[in-house]
């Protein structure tokens, strides 16, 4: 109730969203309010990234962004990857010099942030030589270092063990008033977020507060997981094969 009275940060009114002239999400009606923590669920390819990309475009400078597959530069050190969050705030010359010799203030700030994320002592190591989980945390550190009021994350806790996922989400919450996070862990969506947006077949199938939802409701978002193989004609066999992320044994679930 309270959310309805607040000014929405972004609003969609029966809009078609896509890219390169291809509609991915049809007739989307949606509003994101300040202070909400939204979990974005749906099968792989349901349009989660498209929706997040559109939100990022509309929110511009107000949103910190943590992209899918990190979008890190493996050849650069952890420090430089995190520093990239504040490239626009420094002059071109300072940015260049920072590659040669780290600037003092950002170096200290990034160091503190990384210590909080358990990346202590790795500041100078190239991201390409980190483990998958460490890279994930570098990506989150970069999003946090943008220090915005809003957080948009495309599977920021994919492939992280459940305890760490909780810790990371708590850290994200402590730094941002509002967040939209795409994820696959349904239990986490119910336990940790205020609201769920569920995408299925190019439409918004669920838009409800988590208090009104059960795990069974969320299962309807994953039709392939329910009965794998049943009713699949041989001709489009590869179309109905569920992706690894859509399988009932979702990664990182307790």
């Amino acid at each position: 109730m309270e959310g309805e009275q607040r000014r929405p940060l972004a609003r969609f009114d029966a809009e078609d969203i896509g890219h390169d002239g291809r509609v991915v999400l049809q007739g989307l009606t949606l509003a994101l309010h300040e202070g909400e923590r939204v979990a974005l669920l749906g099968q792989s390819g349901a349009g989660k990234s498209t929706l997040l990309g559109e939100l990022r475009r509309r929110l511009g400078d107000r949103a910190a962004w943590c992209p899918q597959h990190h979008g890190l530069v493996p050849q650069l050190a952890v420090y430089h990857n995190v520093y990239m969050a504040r490239l626009p705030e420094h002059s071109a010359l300072a940015n260049l010099w920072n590659l040669v010799r780290p600037l003092r203030r950002p170096w200290c700030e990034v160091g503190e942030l990384c210590a909080e994320l358990g990346l202590d002592g790795l500041l100078r190591r190239p991201v390409g030589r980190l483990s998958g989980g460490q890279r994930q945390r570098v990506a989150i550190a970069r999003a946090l270092y943008q220090s915005r009021e809003l957080f948009l994350g495309d599977e920021p806790v994919a492939g992280v063990d459940p305890h760490q996922a909780l810790r990371l989400l708590a850290l994200i919450d402590s730094c941002h008033t509002t967040s939209v996070v795409a994820l696959h862990q349904r239990e986490l969506a119910l336990s940790h977020f205020d609201r769920v947006w569920g995408l299925r077949d190019g439409r918004l199938a669920i838009d409800a507060p988590t208090s009104e939802l059960t795990l069974a409701d969320l299962d309807t978002l994953y039709p392939d997981a329910a009965s794998p193989g049943v009713g699949s004609r041989p001709r489009d066999a590869d179309m109905v094969l569920p992706g690894p992320e859509a399988l009932p044994c979702g990664r990182g679930r307790p």
Binding site: G60, D61, W65, P67, H69, H70, G71, L72, V73, P74, Q75, L76, H80, M84, A85, R86, L87, P88, H90, A92, N95, L96, L99, R142, Q146
Partner: protein, 508 residues
């Protein structure tokens, strides 16, 4: 039921097995058509042997290579030093000119066209051109390398930068400056590949630098040509070994940390610099290279000027024919040689030998090979064909073998023939063909240059034009050559198979 099925298969067996649109069949048809075209046109080429005793000559050359006369060499180290200095500074100048162009490459049609043009003319032709202005000097050598390399670097750097992953760039916060975006999210991702390509181009530069000796610059090629021409094969053998040692030891002396030292030393070797006469230079650019009737605005005169052109038709025909034969020859050589250097076949000894053979053929420049075959076989298209097929075939075979090495066969314990035909060839053939098509443009560029040895391609008439100071004719023929190259490049790009090509910029 199963009888009917068997019957159906029996009927279908052997019927139109070549039809169908699987990748393998399509590429097989494609290659066979190419080979058939070459076989059909081969009778048009002059492939005769004009010398009396090619085998005896070959024996003497082999003996020279086997027992090189190290003592007979005069100042080999200054030639060696100059070869390296020209290659190093020429490549560096190419990078300095080419890198900014690479950043404009995608955006400017003018830059793309200009780069295609300077690329289409071989280093040696550029050398012939600059020779008229700067004389036999280091400036000629550097400009001859730097200008075509700038065009090549611009294109390949632009391609490498474009293929770098986009995710990091998209992840940057809005408002990051263009420069910051480039140095943080584009350059680091492409750096390894850019460096590898620059290194490869430097190796090409070494070969080109050797070849500059053929137009008179005192690099290694100058001494090689003289020794070969005068039949002093033991001395030529020693020089060839010197060249192979230079290439083979590149990883040690060409180490990243040694480059500044080499550059400084090279700069000292390059001197003395020529004094450029501005007036003469201007006359060359504004008058000498243009047809006189064109400058006078005399259109009928221009037609007679064109009609006095040396036999343009046959020259173009020979160039294209040799290009086609060379390409098909390279395909066959590559198919025959790649298993020699591949870990799936033979034993340690055969692999080492095969590897050595490929490196030898790959490192010897085509012009050098063609020159040696020319001494053996006389001036027909045959020596040029052999040289093109062997050099390029070996280069492709080398890359293909390296790619086959990382494949793990799914069925262990197959006999070698089964491994070759069922496991490896189907996987690497699309890549092999793609490499061949990339290489076809280079082959055509080399074809033109082989004319300088007396083979009747366009290069023969270009050199003649420069020799007789008919700069207008020479430059016109250079333009024809460039146009031909650009056209063939466009053609091969259309026909290049796109299925899983072995993506290695180090063939261009």
């Amino acid at each position: 039921m199963s009888d009917g099925l068997a019957q159906r298969y029996r009927l279908a067996h052997g019927k139109a097995w070549w039809q169908g649109d699987s990748i393998g069949l399509r590429l097989a048809r494609h290659s066979l058509a190419l080979v058939a075209l070459a076989v059909l046109l081969a009778p048009l080429a002059d492939l005769a042997i004009h010398t009396r005793d090619p085998w005896g000559e070959l024996g003497r050359m082999a003996a020279g290579l086997a027992w090189p006369a190290w003592g007979a060499l005069e100042s080999p180290f200054s030639a060696l030093g100059l070869t390296v200095a020209v290659a190093l500074w020429g490549t560096l100048a190419g990078v300095v000119l080419g890198f900014p162009l690479a950043l404009l490459f995608a955006r400017s049609r003018l830059v793309r066209a200009g780069c295609a043009f300077v690329r289409a003319i071989h280093e040696l032709f550029w050398a012939l051109l600059f020779l008229q202005v700067f004389g036999l000097s280091a400036l000629t050598a550097l400009a001859a390398l730097a200008i075509p390399y700038a065009g090549i670097f611009a294109k390949v750097y632009a391609e490498i930068l474009e293929q770098a992953p986009r995710a990091p760039r998209d992840a940057l916060p809005p408002g990051s400056g263009r420069l910051a975006r480039f140095v943080y999210a584009e350059l680091p991702l492409a750096w390894t590949q850019l460096a590898a390509y620059t290194r490869y181009r430097f190796e090409c530069g070494l070969r080109a630098s050797v070849l500059l000796g053929f137009v008179g610059l005192p690099t290694l090629g100058f001494h090689l040509e003289t020794a070969f021409r005068e039949g002093r094969y033991p001395e030529a053998g020693a020089l060839l070994w010197l060249f192979y040692l230079l290439i083979a030891s590149l990883p040690w002396w060409g180490h990243r940390r040694l480059i500044p030292l080499l550059l400084a030393g090279g700069a000292w070797l390059l001197g003395p610099w020529p004094s450029v006469n501005g007036g003469l230079l201007w006359r060359f650019v504004s008058e000498d290279v243009w047809p006189a009737p064109l400058l006078a605005g005399d259109w009928t005169g221009l037609v007679t000027w064109l009609s006095r052109m040396p036999e343009l038709g046959p020259a173009i025909g020979n160039t294209l024919l040799l290009g086609l034969l060379g390409t098909v020859g390279a395909l066959l050589v590559a198919l025959a040689l790649w298993p020699l250097a591949c870990r799936h076949f033979g034993n340690r000894g055969t692999r080492l030998a095969g590897h050595g053979l490929l490196v030898l053929l790959r490192s010897t420049p085509e012009l050098m090979l063609a020159f040696i075959f020319l001494l053996l076989l006389g001036p027909s298209l045959l020596p040029a064909w052999l040289a093109l097929a062997l050099h390029n075939g070996a280069l492709i075979a080398f890359l293909v073998a390296r790619h086959a090495d990382v494949i793990t066969p799914g069925m262990p314990g197959l006999p070698a023939s089964g491994r070759l035909a069922y496991e490896l060839l189907p996987r690497i053939y699309p890549g092999l063909l793609a490499l061949l098509y990339y290489r076809a443009e280079v082959i055509l560029r080399e074809t033109a240059i082989l004319g300088m040895l007396g083979i009747a391609t366009l290069g023969f008439y270009i050199e003649e034009g420069f020799d007789y100071l008919m700069f207008d004719v020479a430059v016109f023929l250079l333009l024809v050559t460039a146009t031909l190259n650009i056209a063939v490049d466009a053609l091969t790009r259309r026909f290049r198979p796109r299925e899983a090509p072995i993506d290695d910029p180090c063939v261009r």
